[in-house]
Amino acid sequence: MTKKQNKKIIAGLLIFVIIIVALAIGYKVLKPQPVKGEKAVEITVVSADQSEKIYNIQTDAEYLQQVMDETEGLTYSGTEGEFGMMVDAVNDEIASYEENSAYWAFYINGEYCNHSISEQPVADGDEFRIVYTVGE
């Protein structure tokens, strides 16, 4: 292997490591931070028949999953997957992707949640919607 090739490889390795470090820093900066303290949160569950059930919760929880655990009358279950828990059932209503491409979609203040429920931070006044959705 020539000196020139060695230099190229070292430069390549260096760039690879720099990208990893930059990504780690980027994640630290960009990831939504949890908010401490008491919050008022609303969760609306929209069933397959479009009926809605609204829960208003006062909580100190920092992440959505903790809020859901604390919410009286709201039950859920799911399977842990690559990107956190995939919620399969809410209030005993099962959404089966295998059967009819159905899933439970999570929204925060009208926007689709980009985090799993265990990593979705909660802030005072947040409105969550958990919607039974049939994919195309």
Binding site: G12, I15, F16, I19, I20, L23, L30, F83, Y112, E119
Partner: protein
Amino acid sequence: MSSGLYTQLESRKKLTIKDIAVLAILAALLFVVQVGLGFLPNIELVSLLIIIYTLVWGRQTLYIIYVFAVLEGLFYGFGIWWINYLYVWTILYLVVSILIKNKSLIMWAIISGSFGLSFGLLCAIPYTVAGGLGAGIAWWAAGIPYDIVHGIGNFLAVLLLFRPVYYILDKLRGR
């Protein structure tokens, strides 16, 4: 003749029945490997195989990539994620095609690792189009830890498996 030039010339030939059968098997192999390792977060051998397919089968790799994409869609459903499969693997194919003369194992590891690191960014494009720049950045940022795992996993996969897999597939090509 360099293997890169050989591959490019071979790729221009018309496909025979045998070629079609082999390409179908290679696409199926890609699919089986992806599904088989699907339970591991962002650890995959698809990138490794596409790099080697491109080196060995040249342009015909595009057939493999698109058959693989269709199989993935049929298996998992044709969601927004599926749009990613129509271009991300093609981008890897193009990068490898450009660098086809490279003979350094560690450079292929760096290329595959860098592809893994950028995977989330590349896949954020449809989400950016659908939900705007903010949604795209949020989607990409949420997956950064997985991209890092993906990049390191790809890097190691090439270091450990490139030579034996390349040897087998090159023999299969009958060169």
